[in-house]
């Protein structure tokens, strides 16, 4: 018996990221976007006591579900926090080592986990496409112990050379590169999550390593969507599709407006525990 499941690429990214979250860790997210949605999904389904801080100074809020359509920087986003502070304050908390994970979205990423959210193409002064800038990503990626990056699996996103390095991964990958650049010791990117793959970073070389792929994708599918070739984990695992429960929570409660979870539709058929891609839209221009 086969079942068919249809979800967006972003829904897969969010669900995979959410599954990595733990209640005994503290998370740092920017004011809106996929990282916040992943945290809220995890809290809703698996880790109700997970705590997080938001770039605007909100500490450990208890957002009510269903979330309102316009959650960003609204009273609903700060509801029943344990403290309302400001941007510098939560950055200090991260600088002091209190925050385990930063969860961030990236436009472009290189093999050392450095990433871009500033511009792509042509030159800085006349970019093909200008983005909003690092926002809080530079400080979050520098100061939290570990960074989780969320991005789509596309060749123009996994590049040999970033158009602009907005935020640090392992820089040039050399030992202590981050410390020599003035960043705290023992920090750096930990996972990169796409709709198709999960990567970590090799302890020695600091290069990106393929850890797992979607059940509907092969290693070659992933490599076809990268400019650089990542290292390979000894055994590349397969991660789960978004479950019905996850999709229902996402669509009805966590992001009922669909602002964040929208993206490229993917349809997968599961049969006898194996999954294959039935259909997917072409990659769009959105970041």
């Amino acid at each position: 018996m086969s079942t068919t499941r249809t979800f967006t690429d972003m829904e897969q990214i969010i669900c995979t990221t959410a599954r990595m979250m733990e209640e005994e860790r503290l998370y740092f997210v920017a004011i809106g976007g996929p990282p916040l949605i992943a945290v809220l999904l995890s809290k809703r389904l698996r880790t109700p006591n997970l705590t997080y801080v938001v770039e605007d100074g909100t500490i450990a809020p208890a957002v009510q579900m269903p979330a309102p359509a316009f959650l960003i920087a609204s009273s609903a986003a700060g509801y029943r926090a344990v403290a309302w502070t400001d941007m510098n304050t939560v950055d200090f908390h991260a600088g002091l080592g209190y925050i385990d994970y930063g969860v961030l979205a990236a436009v472009q990423v290189d093999q050392y986990g450095n990433f871009n959210s500033t511009f792509v193409g042509a030159a800085y002064e006349r970019p093909a496409r200008r983005f909003g800038g690092p926002g809080g990503a530079n400080e979050i990626a520098s100061l939290c112990w570990r960074t989780i990056l969320m991005t789509r699996q596309q060749g123009r996103k996994f590049v040999n050379k970033l158009d602009f390095m907005s935020s640090p991964g392992f820089l040039d990958g050399s030992p202590d590169a981050r410390q020599r650049a003035g960043l705290p010791a023992d920090t750096g990117p930990w996972r990169v999550v796409t709709e198709m793959a999960v990567f970590d970073f090799d302890e020695e070389s600091r290069r990106m390593r393929l850890l797992a792929v979607a059940p509907w994708a092969t290693v070659d599918d992933v490599l076809a969507q990268m400019e650089f070739k990542p290292l390979m984990a000894p055994s590349v695992e397969t991660f789960d599709l978004p479950s019905e429960e996850e999709l229902a929570a996402l669509r009805a409660e966590v992001d009922p407006s669909g602002r964040t979870i929208r993206g490229r539709w993917i349809t997968v058929e599961e049969e006898d525990g194996r999954a294959h891609l039935v259909q997917q839209e072409a990659a769009g221009e959105e970041s």
């Binding site: 100074g57 359509a69 009273s75 700060g78 200008r130 809080g136 400080e139 820089l171 590169a177 960043l183």
Partner: protein
């Protein structure tokens, strides 16, 4: 102690003693009323060419009514700190007010793209935190602060950040220059006529922004008696002596939300988005800024009592703000 590396970006240079002299010569230390119209406040305290900082953004407790006044008065050549700013930068660029932007994060669409392509606006790269922190340096009255990010990235390279050897630990640490804006626009929940101000909810950096800026213009939802301020001294976030102007502006954050008071007008925000996509910013600016003489007139003629009541009613969370 040596400078190991330095970015090459242009930045407003720190001048702590110049700031002090401005304060000495221009700030009122008496408790005197600073209540004035938005027209007078912007005319007197925002000059063409000023470095302008505002706190929060057009979604949330931003000084939206003061920005529209700035547009109406056709201020020019401003340099702004876009620390977590939504389409505020777009609005000011579309109106021709801004020629330089220190970027933390901002919404970027057609207006910014076109202005960049035509050389009407220059961008300088920082981050939200770095801009808030540079204003903290400005608020502390020191020329720079050390920080443990920015290093190693292109933001470092293209900004005014320096990497030095810390004379205490011998380790590498970055420095960023203090940012002391010429003028700050801050929308607050409550203040008295002297400028003692209360701000409710998580903010971006309202206190640092007020402290770091030479001229401080507050708009406020409510003017409350000084006696009430003195009954709850712990709630005061900005003391009167930093404030140059107090503008009474109920719904001053519109179309954004002031948490606990009214929600954002999503319909308006969509109208803005559509205007940008369609290249109709001139019409948008005309409707919301140029064709009305004041914030009050805009509320009356463009928003209307009914919608204001609805936005208030739909902000159901008052807990922690007003309760």
């Amino acid at each position: 102690m040596s400078v190991l590396a330095a970015g090459t970006g242009v930045f407003k240079p720190p001048d702590p003693d110049g700031f002090r002299r401005h304060v000495r010569d221009h700030k009122e230390r008496r408790l005197v009323s600073k209540v004035m119209s938005e027209h007078e406040a912007i005319e007197r305290f925002v000059q063409d060419g000023d470095y302008l900082s505002y706190d929060c953004n057009i979604w949330n407790r931003g000084p939206a009514s003061l920005m529209r006044e700035l547009i109406r008065q056709r201020k020019r050549d401003l340099w702004i700190a876009a620390k977590f700013t939504a389409h505020d930068a777009t609005l000011l660029v579309a109106a021709g007010c801004v020629s330089r932007i220190d970027v933390g994060w901002m919404e970027v669409g057609r207006v910014i793209h076109e202005a960049m392509a035509e050389g009407r606006v220059q961008l300088f790269e920082w981050s939200n935190g770095a801009l808030a922190y540079r204003q903290l340096a400005g608020a502390l009255g020191v020329p720079f602060l050390p920080l443990r990010y920015l290093g190693g990235t292109d933001v470092f390279r293209t900004s005014g950040t320096k990497l030095i050897e810390d004379p205490y630990t011998g380790q590498a640490v970055c420095l960023v220059p203090a940012l002391n804006p010429d003028v700050a626009l801050i929308h607050v929940n409550q203040c008295d006529e002297f400028g003692n101000a209360r701000i409710f909810g998580a903010g971006v950096a309202p206190v640092e922004t007020a402290m770091a800026s030479r001229k401080v213009v507050l708009s406020t939802e409510e003017i409350i008696p000084n006696e009430e301020i003195r009954r709850h001294p712990q709630q005061t976030r900005v003391p009167y002596y930093m404030v140059d102007a107090v503008v009474h502006a109920p719904f001053g954050g519109y179309p954004g939300s002031v948490p606990g008071l009214y929600r954002a007008d999503v319909e308006h925000l969509m109208e803005f988005g559509a205007a940008q996509v369609q290249g109709k910013m001139a019409e948008y600016l005309d409707k919301w800024a140029f064709s009305v003489s004041s914030h009050e007139e805009m509320l009356e003629q463009r928003v209307g009592q009914e919608k204001m009541e609805r936005l208030r009613a739909e902000e159901t969370i008052r807990e922690g703000y007003y309760e």
